[in-house]
């Protein structure tokens, strides 16, 4: 039985990494949002599975948050925002797909190396999960630094945070998981609202981060 638990959890975690790669691959914002929705779905599934095998009912809450909030609300919101800002055609890569992919590979390898040095005593489930979670976190960060405009950065940040939730849920019996995921959802909401703020107050004609940087310090 344990074998099955392990394999499914492993599978889900792995596929989360895979989806992160897909995100990295996208350069159109709509597509990116769709992939992110998928990312959230997979997360929800893996959290639910964890809730099941750890029979920790409170994790279902986290799973639902992931499902409803991240897989549906946020993508829709961002979608509408893109429409409003009319930036849906933008290709906003800093580095091309190829290098980004290579970097991603490197990061995954790195996270494996770092995590697999953990002694066997820590149970394998947690260990594998952690390795994948770390990979997802790093990929999310990579996403943030390789994308130019705020929306895709938000997406990058959210997938990073998905990695965290994955790790948190993988950590058997960790308290405050739900609170933390809620807190993070609030954080993300803040970010999205922030972007809206900038839009609504018509301070910036675009949410391109470089435009914000025109007002960087020292009044050049």
């Amino acid at each position: 039985m344990h074998g099955l638990d392990f394999d499914v959890a492993h599978l889900l975690a792995g596929s989360l990494v895979l989806v992160s790669f897909l995100e990295l691959y996208q350069d159109r914002l709509y597509a990116l949002l769709n992939v992110y929705a998928a990312h959230a779905l997979v997360l929800a599934a893996s959290v639910a599975w964890q809730a099941f095998i750890q029979d920790a009912p409170h994790l279902y809450v986290t799973a639902t948050i992931a499902l409803v909030f991240k897989a549906i609300v946020i993508p829709v919101a961002l979608h509408r925002m893109i429409v409003r800002l009319g930036i849906h055609r933008e290709i906003d890569k800093v580095v091309g797909v190829g290098p980004a992919m290579l970097a991603g590979m490197g990061l995954v390898a790195l996270s494996m190396v770092v995590m697999l040095r953990v002694t066997q005593e820590a149970d394998p489930l947690a260990r594998e999960d952690l390795a994948f979670a770390l990979a997802v976190v790093l990929l999310g960060l990579l996403m943030m630094v390789t994308r130019r405009n705020a929306v895709s950065q938000v997406v990058g940040f959210m997938s990073l945070e998905n990695g965290l939730v994955l790790a948190a849920t993988g950590a058997k019996g960790m308290p405050l998981v739900v609170e933390i995921s809620v807190a993070f959802s609030i954080l993300i909401a803040f970010i999205v609202i922030g972007i809206f703020l900038f839009r609504i107050r018509e301070r910036f004609d675009t949410v391109d981060v470089q435009a914000l940087d025109r007002f960087r310090g020292e009044r050049r």
């Binding site: 770092v114 995590m115 040095r117 953990v118 002694t119 005593e121 820590a122 149970d123 947690a126 952690l130 979670a133 770390l134 976190v137 960060l141 943030m144 950065q153 940040f157 990073l160 945070e161 990695g163 965290l164 790790a167 948190a168 950590a171 058997k172 019996g173 960790m174 308290p175 405050l176 609170e179 933390i180 807190a183 993070f184 954080l187 803040f190 970010i191 922030g194 703020l197 900038f198 107050r201 301070r203 914000l212 940087d213 025109r214 007002f215 960087r216 310090g217 020292e218 009044r219």
Partner: protein
């Protein structure tokens, strides 16, 4: 007995007073009343905090008071108190010239208390998860306050702070989770595996590899809040664009709180022989920040950004000191941290008034301050002299201890340290000369400044530079011992 009773009531007080005050302030429309209430609240918090000194409550699984965070709590509440006094006059002026709307002021006061609560919570938290939550809360509050002026620069600074801060938060959380993972096999599942006082006793048995990774993430996560280079980017702009009281609180307190979190985990790692030594990492980042910030001082054209970079510099020194470890260096680190909080907030008090009377933060537009506003000018000079580590003020003693104790142990590090300090001093005075001396520039109108907070801080720093009460010394030495 009575003391213990007092303390037991005091601990919730430290947390409850700000919450209540925040609620009231959010409801209170009148500016003067809310300013007074703000001061009152911080006063009460300070009293509670002081009463904690007389007896420490037993650590619960959520809250803990020991010598280490005792230092921080008293410092935080005190600076919070003086800053609220300064803020009263400062915000009053902002309201007059219409830079702030009454609504914004209301929001500001409420947020001020929330920030106080968050920082106190982060300090007394015994649960690493709770600590994380508190620091996140503190960050978000300050983000909102930095953006309060709604100018391009302010919003941009807030946004930058927000994004970088959030990433930091995420990294810190990952680190926290990893710590839990490391603790779980030893301590067992559930809450205990996140209770710091439990962790530190059992840390020797934890999995070193996990702890290592955890510390890396915590160092980066909380290091972002400490403002260590190269994670510092948010700090100068946030200081420069937000209202000055917040700059004072940021430099004087929030950085310390983040550093405090870092220290807690350092102790955790120190307790585990097999894990990597946290010292070298902190020493490297510390020196990097010091030298980097020192060089950044030279090209500054904005007064508040100048001192923001000097905060980075000093955080570098403090991190370096704690990274070196050992009784003298740790003592010096604590002393330096305390002195820096007091001095830097005093400087920001002065800077706030200077910016108000000159109507600008551009260094190029101000000059001859000692002619036009002697009190402000000499106050600023005294502050800079203190922050530059010149005697007879407190930072001189801490720098004396850090450098002299380091040089015998690691000469090369000491050389770099001294180099950074020297470059920093040169940079600071280069700017100070043009601000405080020379032909007066900019408006010379008087100001209804409140000098009490500034000079009381400076007086404390002066006294500490010459004489430290034995009780305080013993206390600091205990803490230094705790830090190992």
């Amino acid at each position: 007995m009575t003391f213990d009773g007092l303390a037991i009531n005091a601990l919730p007080g430290v947390l409850a007073v700000p919450v209540v005050a925040a609620a009231l302030l959010a409801a209170l429309p009148n500016y003067r009343a809310s300013a007074r209430l703000n001061v009152l609240a911080t006063t009460l918090t300070l009293i509670c905090a002081l009463s904690l000194l007389f007896g420490k409550p037993q650590p619960s699984s959520y809250l803990l008071v020991d010598d280490l965070n005792g230092t921080f709590i008293v410092l935080t509440t005190f600076v919070g108190f003086t800053t609220s006094i300064f803020s009263a006059s400062y915000i009053g002026h902002e309201l007059e010239i219409g830079r702030l709307t009454p609504v914004a002021v209301r929001f500001y006061h409420a947020m001020y208390q929330v920030l106080m609560f968050a920082m106190n919570l982060a300090l007394v938290a015994n649960n690493i998860g709770l600590m994380w939550v508190a620091i996140e809360l503190a960050t978000l509050t300050t983000v909102l306050m930095v953006g309060i002026y709604r100018t391009h620069e302010a919003l941009e600074a807030a946004w930058k702070y927000f994004i970088l801060g959030s990433v930091g938060i995420a990294l810190a959380l990952f680190g926290t989770i990893l710590v839990y993972m490391a603790a779980r096999p030893v301590v067992g599942e559930g809450l205990d595996a996140m209770v710091w006082s439990v962790l530190v006793t059992r840390a020797s048995a934890f999995d070193p590899a996990l702890l290592d990774v955890a510390f890396v993430f915590l160092l980066l996560g909380y290091g972002t809040k400490v403002g260590l280079a190269p994670l510092h980017a948010w700090l100068p702009d946030a200081h420069a664009e937000g209202p000055t009281p917040i700059s004072a609180v940021l430099s004087g307190l929030l950085l310390n709180v983040a550093l405090y979190a870092l220290l807690r985990f350092k102790m955790l790692l120190a307790a585990n022989a097999a894990a990597i030594a946290p010292g070298p990492l902190m020493v490297t980042l510390g020196l990097l920040s010091l030298v980097f910030a020192a060089f950044m001082l030279y090209r500054r054209r904005d007064l508040k950004r100048l001192f923001a970079y000097s905060s980075i510099e000093h955080m570098g020194i403090i991190t370096f000191a704690f990274g070196m470890g050992g009784p003298i260096a740790n003592f010096a680190g604590l002393l330096h941290m305390t002195m820096h909080s007091l001095t830097k907030s005093a400087i920001f008090f002065a800077v706030g008034h200077v910016a108000q009377v000159k109507g600008t933060q551009r260094i190029a537009d101000m000059g001859g301050l000692t002619e036009t506003h002697p009190l402000l000018g000499w106050g600023l000079i005294l502050g800079v002299v203190a922050i530059a580590g010149l005697p007879p003020l407190g930072i001189f003693m801490s720098e004396f201890l850090v450098v002299s104790s380091t040089f015998a142990r690691a000469p090369l590090l000491a050389i770099v340290l001294v180099f950074g300090i020297l470059v920093g001093v040169a940079g600071l005075f280069l700017r100070l000369n043009s601000i405080a001396f020379g032909e007066p520039r900019g408006p010379a109108a008087g100001t209804q400044a409140s000098y009490v907070p500034m000079f009381s801080h400076l007086a404390l720093v002066l006294v500490a530079g010459i004489y430290m009460p034995p009780a305080l010394v013993v206390w600091f030495q205990n803490v230094a011992g705790l830090l190992g």
